[in-house]
Point group: C2
Chain length 392, copies 2
């Protein structure tokens, strides 16, 4: 038995595991900071490429740096043809997050320098993964739909190129802009479960691919990256604005949650949700399905009121609440919402893996290795005495 | 900044994250306990199948239970042919741990009941993964060597069947017995880094495959599962018994470590190493290469003496020290040592994922989500003010 009982079985809440220079979340004030910058300041004024550069290299790039970095990303976009062949062996109903997860160690298989753990080699891996995630997801969507794979378009930036490879047509300016904002907003969020999983794996000196593969696995959980999928399913179940209040009452009466509200960290509306909301409104209108936005808006208002009335407490929007209808209106299949999250968060994961591999390894004695409290008193306080098979 | 500074950047050492009924490690006394039983009592008297049953179902099986469980494992051994096709797309020089990691989400692709999170469905997944790991590794070894894949042999138990599929011939009694003991001894070790990674991913409600994939990634790190590979490389570098002392002096003078000695947890010789040592001796002799064992033995003795003399401290054997020469003498390629570790540890991982999914979810509020301490003072204590591209 151990004497730090106060934190056992609390999911490490309130336990500070490491120092980081990458990002900060101030849940009380509703602030999310990427390497010194408020995400609200970045969201509509930077490209995902700039953010990836900021996260990996600790600075917003100047024009020349951005040009070089963008060229590096474009060069690294191609998915090795053998990986495409492997994807073609996969059943069409495979979960896309499982497809993505399997693809990452396959990317490792094609790294000619896999044993090289220098900073440059690890940064190259980060660039390669950031560049390739969109191509993996788009290729899988095309393969499972029986369509031809669309090769990347060197004329297009990261956001537009993904939508182009996914659908085979260049997105309009709104779609490109909004998708870019979505990528910027989801790129990094401190020691969330997937980032912690990636750092934990990197701490054993496993390579970056192995670490990121763990991050993808963690993100696939419905308590983490799966949340906006559940928001969209909820919006579909509700179906129309007039059914919102009945739905809320039924769910809360049954002790269930309303998806997209409530967060472990934020004690105010998630700043990212407030940025996404008007974009969701515009996109839903554009496809002639404003009701998804309208349902969301009514749902927000009435859920907040219900919480005040029933529980005398406030509940706040999280980032998933409006990303659901936004992505849906962009024509992204619902089961690709979490992979799209990964297309963005890979920037944060790789930055954290680099920090763990270089700064972290210097600061920390070794790998993450917590203690556990053994409560298996199968034979009382003594050890069990072994019984051979014929006496059991 | 956070007030629990005493544990920041300590790799969670001394932090008790969860309670568990699965195993206990008493590093001071040199005791490893699987669900109440001392591993020393189990090692030479049980099959890996019995241990997997003990870990998953909380009891050593009686004859009937073992018969049923063994039949279940045998039925689940076959690797879907589409996964074999995918493996055939992989470059021959791929790291075997990356091959294994990519294979697990592919196994998920073939789970017809992937959305079912019932206890039975999750236990079925555990059985499937335990049953299939040997076949994945053996198939990959055959594919990369240009040999025909050997289908599983229903007449053989888990240990013998792996060696059979790997080499195409039935192992002799010693090899079968020793390999079984190796599997029993590596099956479980509490909240080590890979098990913690698997539990962390499972805590987001990601499925068991995603969780185990993270465990494999963590195990691939040289600080964790890669250790016996480095022991074997070291034995080869030393080459003969008369060079041991020079080697030790050179390494210690240069501030480097001697692989296979020292452990974060044990303050005595690892009980598992003491069980493996005589087996390594017999196998090395059998293949006419006793020098691997002799080098190991001298290395143990002289390293312990050197630590006493130079540092006035004791250093102890860990499990990797003799598993290296044992596996080598069995003809297992060095780069498969860590996958072989995984073939065993999958029993522990799946038991922990089940505990996290069922007992853990009940005891714990939600997913593992630690805090971090933000030290990114890029613009001093204030937030950075955003500068548009043309002003950077």
């Amino acid at each position: 038995m151990n004497d730090n009982h106060s934190i056992i079985n609390k999911g490490l809440r309130g336990v500070t595991v490491a120092s980081t220079k990458i990002s900060d979340v101030d849940g009380q004030a509703g602030k999310l900071i990427y390497r010194g910058y408020l995400v609200q300041d970045l969201a509509e004024r930077t490209s995902f490429e700039e953010i990836a550069h900021l996260l990996l290299f600790e600075k917003l790039p100047d024009e020349k740096e951005l040009e070089n970095f963008t060229a590096r990303l474009k060069e690294a976009r191609d998915i090795p043809r053998e990986i495409i062949e492997a994807l073609k062996t996969r059943p069409a109903d495979s979960l896309p997050m499982d497809i993505l997860q399997a693809s990452i160690p396959m990317i490792a298989n094609h790294d000619p320098d896999i044993g090289n753990y220098s900073l440059e080699a690890c940064q190259d891996r980060a660039v390669s993964l950031i560049a390739k995630f969109p191509g993996i997801i788009a290729a899988w969507e095309r393969i499972r739909s029986g369509k031809n794979i669309v090769p990347p378009n060197v004329e297009l930036g990261h956001a537009a190129n993904f939508l182009y490879m996914l659908k085979g047509e260049t997105p309009d300016d709104d779609a490109e802009h909004f998708f870019n904002v979505g990528l910027v907003l989801h790129a990094e969020h401190s020691f969330n479960a997937s980032t912690f999983a990636a750092r934990e794996v990197a701490s054993t000196r496993a390579h970056m691919y192995a670490a990121v593969t763990a991050g993808v696995g963690s993100l696939s959980g419905e308590l983490h990256g799966g949340a906006n999928v559940r928001v969209m399913e909820m919006l579909k179940r509700i179906g129309s604005v007039d059914k919102v209040e009945d739905y809320i009452n039924r769910e809360l009466d049954a002790g269930r949650v309303i998806f997209g509200l409530g967060h472990a960290v934020y004690k105010t509306d998630d700043p990212r949700a407030l940025i996404l909301a008007p974009m969701a409104e515009i996109m839903c209108k554009k496809i002639g399905e404003s009701h998804w936005y309208d349902i969301s808006k009514r749902l927000e208002e009435k859920t907040k009121a219900a919480f005040k009335q029933r529980k005398r407490m406030d509940i706040f929007l999280n980032v998933d609440f409006f990303s659901a209808s936004l992505y849906y209106a962009m024509g992204i299949p619902t089961d690709l919402f979490t992979p799209v999250f990964a297309i963005s968060r890979i920037a944060g994961w790789t930055a954290h893996v680099l920090e763990e591999q270089f700064a972290g390894a210097a600061a920390k004695p070794a790998l993450y290795r917590p203690e556990s409290d053994y409560i298996g008193d199968y034979c009382g306080p003594e050890e069990c005495s072994f019984t051979p098979m014929d006496e059991r």
